[in-house]
Amino acid sequence: MSAGQTSKVIDKARERHSLVVGVILIVLAVFTAWVFGYGTVGDATFRLAMRGDSFKVGDLVVPAAPYAYVVAAILAYFGARLMMRSGSRRANLILGIGLILFITAFLTWATADHSFSLTGMLKSTIIRALPIAFGGLTGVLCERVAVINIGIEGMLLAGAFSGVVFGSLFGGWAGLAGAAMTGGLLGLILAVLTVTYRMDQIIAGVVINIFVLGLTSYLTSQVLAKEAFRHLNDAPVFRAIDIPYLSDFPIIGPLFFQHNLFVYAAFAMVAIATYYLFHTRTGLRARAVGEHPRAADTLGINVFRIRYIQVTVAGMVAGFGGAWFTLGSVGRFDENMTSGRGFIGLAAMIFGRWHPVGALAAALVFGFADSVQQKMALLQTPIPSEFLAMAPYVATIIVVAGLVGRARPPAADGKPYVKE
């Protein structure tokens, strides 16, 4: 294919893409005006201040119906623009902004005539996003070296379990270390099975999930439930640490700077992973192993070693993240307490396009859907909360299907490397 033809194909694809996005925006606009605007009365009151703030901020009061009409107008304007002037380069950005506006209109409609704490909901968004973010980061690290990790769920669960056992025995920090070691061990097992024994990566991941679920449930009912060992399931919980000065800011303070160690660790790990993957020599090598292991091998990079190390480290991240379930929130372990969060982490990885920051952002979106879903029941909206709970999964299918921009995994993803 010549260069001219290629660019023509790209133009065509972009044209179609912006047409699709335009249509979506128009549909959202009609929906907003009709459902959220028409017949809605009252103001939505969002409380911004949290208890214990040093500076109080007032409530945010939004008239529900007019706000919906304004949002509908903006959505319609952008939609029409995209449909007319096809070939826009910013279609995805506009779609993102459009979706955020749509969600604000939805929230305003849902809270019309009520009030709720917006800051509180955003704070719970961050907390709910936490295990998903750790899971997503694990997925990114594994798949960047072309090892598919379906076993994130099991690694989180193992981290939660060993976190509580080590935490009860030797204190919180030992719990953290134990959780990370257990996760790392599972990562190492995944690496042995898939890299050395070239077992099907998906089967290996499924096995890890089933094995960990079976083992932790067995040990919980067999050992932890017994009177003599009950003290093993009672770990100290890491308290929230207020960052000096920063935590005093209204809204931003409670939102970002009044959390326990896990939240700060998640943000730090995402930053470190991004720097490592995209700004260091080793990171470049790791990505080369994920994209074209043969070429990397030819240049003298030890494909097997890099895969082993990175998958093990990824397992440690998952184990650490899993410890949040016990050491970061309730201090005790329950059977299957991760309840599918690892799979959403996998979705966050895809949603975030195999980038640590993207995965974190996706985790926040999913955490937001989760915490809105919790609020819905209180606000008594006609939309069943189950449908909101489905949103992350539907969104992931849409992204994987490439209906709105395609996410591309590393080229060698899932393929074992056979040295010649």
């Binding site: 072309a146 598919i148 379906i150 099975l193 024994y197 070239r198 077992m199 099907d200 990566q201 998906i202 089967i203 290996a204 499924v206 096995v207 999930n209 089933i210 094995f211 679920l213 079976g214 083992l215 449930s217 067995y218 040990l219 009912s221 067999q222 050992v223 599918g340 799979f343 996998l346 979705a347 895809i350 069943p384 189950e386 449908f387 709970a389 489905m390 999964y393 539907v394 992931t396 299918i397 994987v400 299907a401 490439g402 209906l403 395609r406 591309r408 995994p409 590393p410 080229a411 060698a412 993803d413 899932g414 393929k415 074992p416």
Partner: protein, 378 residues
């Protein structure tokens, strides 16, 4: 179809296809010896785990004795084994048929849920139908809805290249939420109840019990007959029809199949639809035969055990039949074990996962028992 999303799929060229047994080359070592060794090793490791968790040697022996007695030791035990095996066999075939075309159906769980709900809806909706009409109609409803649910994943793979592993995992969660939601609607929820419990299936849609004339305690129902029938039908479909040939051709080598004029996209959709139909049928058999109504998450992991069953049975209908019976025996025996010796039934899950490891990575077993697998010079 783009290649960018098929990354996961191409991995199967290396391993899953190695596991599939060609019916024309019967190799007793890989067919029987390996699964048997895998199973024995898993049992041994299960014993080690029991020992580590503080169960003494006598109790370990008693546990395994209870496992044996509870699964095949009496007519009642056999009946329980068959009750547990029926859904595992059908769902195992659902996963196996996916393997045959190189697809990984992790979505049996969701297909069981959606299909089960459909079978349930038909099962409680039409009073005054004869059992000869009502029961088949309910099962058919389950299969059709399951086929649609599975077909979505196949169609997405065919048209957009969305990998079926991801889309079926997501569809599982969507199905779970759909069931939660449905159980709150007036149509499904049992009248006068506030908790998420559905109406009960009418008698005319229940799978008839087979052995209650001997002893009313024997729960084995016509579901196991359906499982046998499905084993036969899928064997025929895979190895005696053009469609089955196309499925296997695409699984063996998609490129060659494409050059031979087989429409890959259509085959992916059809495979997942058939797999989904089997998943939905599993849901129907479970709801109409065992549960008689639905509660949240009533699939209870059958869809995941089915993966193990399909792997252990090497994605061959006969193999899946025996693997399903074995896993059914483990289920039934595990319950007995829990009652008799207080060893948690989750131990069975551990043993099952170890069996998968050893079957999916045969090299582990081969290096543990090199004497059994020594290659003779040809």
């Amino acid at each position: 179809m783009t290649d960018s999303q098929t990354g996961v799929g191409s991995a199967k060229k290396y391993s899953v296809s190695e596991l599939l047994t060609n019916p024309n080359e019967v190799d007793l070592k890989t067919l029987l010896l390996l699964p048997a060794m895998a199973f024995m090793t898993a049992l041994f490791l299960g014993g080690v785990i029991m020992f580590v968790s503080g169960v003494d040697f006598t109790n370990i022996a008693f546990s395994y004795r209870a496992l044996l007695v509870g699964s095949v030791g009496s007519v009642f035990a056999l009946s329980e084994t068959l009750v547990a095996a029926a859904p595992l066999i059908i769902a195992g075939l659902s996963v196996a048929i996916g393997f045959r075309s190189g697809l990984f159906n992790i979505g049996a769980e969701g297909q069981i849920l959606t299909g089960g709900m459909a079978a349930l809806a038909v099962g409680f909706s039409f009073p005054e139908l004869s059992i000869w009409v009502h029961l088949p109609l309910s099962l058919l409803a389950g299969a059709i809805v399951g086929a649609v649910w599975g077909g979505i994943a196949g169609w997405l793979r065919a048209v957009t290249g969305a990998h079926e592993v991801i889309s079926t995992i997501m569809l599982n969660f969507i199905a779970l939420r759909l069931v939660d939601f449905s159980l709150k609607t007036d149509f499904f929820q049992k009248t006068g109840r506030n908790d998420p419990i559905s109406k009960s299936v009418l008698d005319s849609a229940l799978l008839p019990d087979l052995l209650t004339w001997i002893d009313p305690q024997l729960r084995v129902n016509a579901g196991i007959l359906i499982a046998f029938l499905v084993v036969f039908l899928i064997g025929w479909l895979l190895f005696r029809t053009t469609i089955g040939f196309e499925f296997r051709a695409v699984g063996a080598n998609p490129d060659a199949a494409r050059y031979a004029g087989i429409r890959i996209g259509w085959t992916f959709t059809a495979t997942m639809a058939v797999a989904g139909a089997l998943g939905g049928l599993t849901g129907g058999v479970q709801v109409l035969g065992v549960l008689e109504r639905a509660s949240p998450g009533f699939s209870s992991g059958i869809g995941f055990e089915a993966i193990a069953v399909a792997l252990l049975g090497r994605a061959h209908p006969t193999g899946v039949l025996f693997a399903g019976l074995l896993f059914g025996a483990l289920e039934a025996g595990g319950r007995q074990m829990q009652v008799d010796t207080n060893v948690g039934i989750d131990l069975i899950t551990i043993i099952q996962s170890l069996v998968i490891v050893f079957v999916a990575a045969p090299i582990l077993i081969k290096s543990l028992y090199p004497f059994a697998f020594r290659e003779h010079a040809k």
